[in-house]
């Protein structure tokens, strides 16, 4: 059997349904084999979109997304997406073609050392030179992307390897190094952590992306309800728990909810679940460590102490560790009464929202109000993706994720252009759900060719463009930290986003009012149609709250005119 056919057979056997990619000279035998299989190949317009689509697909399906590119530029175009997947721990398998073995190392046409290029930012990458190892290497790479801490892998296959004959594969399992069991919860450490939690007066639970992957939402809520602890999330942890729960305060950090930042400031113990405690989430680690105990739960040992020194580290799968922790705490103390602190913090959050709504003078459209309206009219299980920039921050501030796992964004790498292809991949994974990409005009223009796939494959994604004709977040930093010396942050008005969308076959609208926006979105949802909606938002908008880079959460800059002083005094008196 031809190696390419054996590979595709094994892929199908493992449950691969879709490959996002572009064929080329070196990967032609692979595509030839795909032609005879039930695996659907989706022809994207640039390989970066293939990886982001695979990321969106993986996030929804809970299994690896597969993407492909040919040798040389096809492979190198995958890199940004692979690094994105690495930073956000998303299981993606990239299959790249490579020049024939006898040409390797000769600077042959379309030869690039893709394995060498991706090594710092990938879980596993290999060039398969022995055809008889191909299926084993596929099984290894596919399995290890979801073993322990999730991440991307890459299989680089010379064209002549794909065309050689190999024996039919029989029940191949991942080799031991690719199938390490995750650490089991350490009961002694859990008992110590439980004691720490019950001794604390103001515990807070900080939830990261690892909790989403572990599907630990139920256990987090059980813990929070038993000890009456507010829950805050990182950008990646958003949606691990439903954000309409009374103990959930939203995203913390540089552009976090004011009540979430306050919860951390006020805390004496933070239970960190599946988070790498990045500077964007907690500010300077030294400030975070000061005056509070830190319990850190993570499947990746190397996260303990990397940024923050934990008082107690609890290695293992977040869901399993939390389940044990909850049980031990229940043995130690009865359920605590309702959290007055959480209620007060919620009131502050409501005051912030009311204030933001009150500064709408009706002359221009405001991003936060656009997100709030979408929040009201979209179904609760809508999958939201975003680009990167101001609109992403408005979305994390005002969108309430109610169905776990339905918030998909580029948190670690901050990849502009992520939103639309990720939305497309999510829609391929969940054709029956509404998928909305909340995008910026800058981000949209980076990967807008994905609309061609939306049309070709009848995957009706709704794209809402927060159109400020600028690179808004860069402009905001120039405004705040570079004395308003704007440079290369404004786009001209000559790029017609509506015509652009229609050129790809996706109906496009310009919403000049909130009512028009509501009507267009409602119609697109009702008719299950693709739509691109250009929303001209205030060009001068700055996203607040904002914690300046390198500063502690307490140094947060609030929207001009929103006074928190009195409310903070009240909070500090509460236990």
């Amino acid at each position: 059997m031809r190696a390419a056919d054996a590979l595709v057979n094994e892929m199908a056997r493992r449950g691969v349904e879709v490959v996002f990619g572009i064929p080329g000279g070196a990967s032609m035998p692979f595509y030839d084999a795909l032609k005879d299989s039930d695996i659907k190949s989706i022809l994207v317009r640039h390989e970066q979109q293939a990886v982001h689509a695979a990321e969106g697909y993986a996030r929804i399906k809970g299994r690896p997304g597969v993407c492909s590119g040919t040798s040389g530029p096809g492979a190198t175009n995958l890199i940004t997406g692979l690094v994105d997947a690495y930073m956000d721990s998303i299981p993606v398998l990239a299959i790249t073609g490579q020049v024939v073995r006898s040409f390797m190392g000769t600077d042959a046409f379309q030869e690039a050392d893709i394995v060498g290029l991706v090594l710092p930012h990938i879980k596993y990458a290999v060039t398969v030179k022995d055809p008889n190892r191909l299926i084993q290497e596929f099984v290894n790479a596919y399995s290890v992307s979801m073993n322990g801490r999730y991440g991307p892998t890459l299989l680089d296959i010379p064209r002549d390897v794909l065309t050689e004959d190999v024996k039919k594969a029989e029940d191949i399992q991942p080799e031991p190094l690719f199938n390490r069991p995750p650490p089991e919860p350490d009961i002694d450490s859990i008992k110590q952590a439980a004691k720490l939690v019950v001794d604390s007066e103001k515990p807070v639970i900080l939830v990261g992306g690892g909790a989403v992957y572990s599907m630990a939402g139920r256990e987090i809520l059980q813990l929070a309800e038993h000890i009456a602890a507010p829950i805050v999330t990182t950008t990646m942890g958003k949606g691990a728990v439903p954000e309409d729960h009374p103990l959930v305060l939203g995203v913390v950090g540089m552009h976090g909810r004011v009540e979430a930042d306050l919860a951390i400031i006020e805390s004496d113990t933070v239970i960190c679940v599946g988070t790498r405690l990045s500077d964007r989430a907690i500010g300077p680690a030294k400030e975070f460590e000061k005056g509070r105990k830190v319990i850190h739960i993570d499947v990746d040992f190397s996260e303990f102490g990397k940024n923050v020194k934990p008082s107690i580290s609890l290695p293992g799968d977040a869901r399993k560790v939390l389940a044990e922790l909850v049980e031990y705490i229940k043995h130690l103390i009865p359920r605590r009464p309702e959290s007055k602190l959480a209620q007060k913090l919620h009131d502050i959050g409501s005051a912030y929202e009311e204030y933001m709504m009150s500064i709408d003078d009706g002359k221009v459209l405001h991003s936060w109000k656009v997100v709030s309206i979408l929040n009201e009219i979209l179904p609760h299980d809508t999958i939201i993706t975003t680009g990167v920039g101001q609109h992403q921050m408005w979305a994390q501030l005002f969108w309430k994720t109610r169905t776990p796992g339905s918030w998909i964004t580029s948190g670690g790498l901050g990849t502009m252009g992520f939103g639309l292809p990720a939305a497309f991949g999510a829609k391929v994974a969940a054709p029956d759900r509404v998928v909305v990409d909340l995008d910026g005009d800058g981000s949209f223009l980076m990967t807008c060719q994905t609309l061609a796939c939306v049309t070709d494959y009848e995957c009706p994604v709704i794209t809402v463009i927060f159109d400020n004709r600028s690179l808004g977040m860069v402009k905001q930093w120039q405004d705040m930290f570079y004395s308003k010396r704007y440079k290369d942050v404004e786009y001209n008005d000559r790029t017609d986003l509506l015509k652009l969308s229609e050129a790809f076959g996706v109906e496009a609208f310009r919403a000049e009012t909130y009512e028009e926006l509501s009507n267009i979105v409602r119609r697109a949802v009702r008719t299950n149609s693709a739509a691109t909606i250009d929303v001209p938002v205030d060009k001068g908008e700055l996203v607040f709250p904002m914690v300046p880079p390198g500063k502690w959460l307490q140094d947060v800059k609030l929207p001009p005119g929103f006074d928190l002083t009195q409310r903070m005094i009240n909070v500090s008196r509460m236990v």
């Binding site: 060498g116 710092p120 879980k123 596993y124 290890v144 991440g151 690719f178 390490r180 190397s302 102490g305």
Partner: protein, 80 residues
């Protein structure tokens, strides 16, 4: 701080390259690296003498074990 790290990995240039890239990521300086093949050439044994911030040696040992190139990575000794 100085660290001595013992790593056993598959015999491939990728494994060695990734290990050195992780050293770089940890902002560690190299004092010496000694690598030789073991088990008839199927695996490599590496001893790294590194210097850097406190805790980084432990971080590196744990980090490497996330990747399937490495069978073991143990911090043998640390010194001020």
């Amino acid at each position: 701080m100085k660290f001595v790290l013992h790593v056993v990995c598959v015999n491939s240039a990728d494994a060695v390259a990734k290990m050195m890239l992780a050293v770089k990521q940890g902002n560690l300086s190299i004092e010496s690296v000694n690598i030789h093949s073991i088990d008839g050439g199927s695996r490599l044994s590496a001893v790294l003498l590194l210097s850097g911030e406190e805790g980084k040696g432990e971080w590196l040992a744990n980090k490497l074990l996330n990747f399937p190139y490495y069978q073991s990575a143990s911090l043998m000794k640390t010194k001020e």
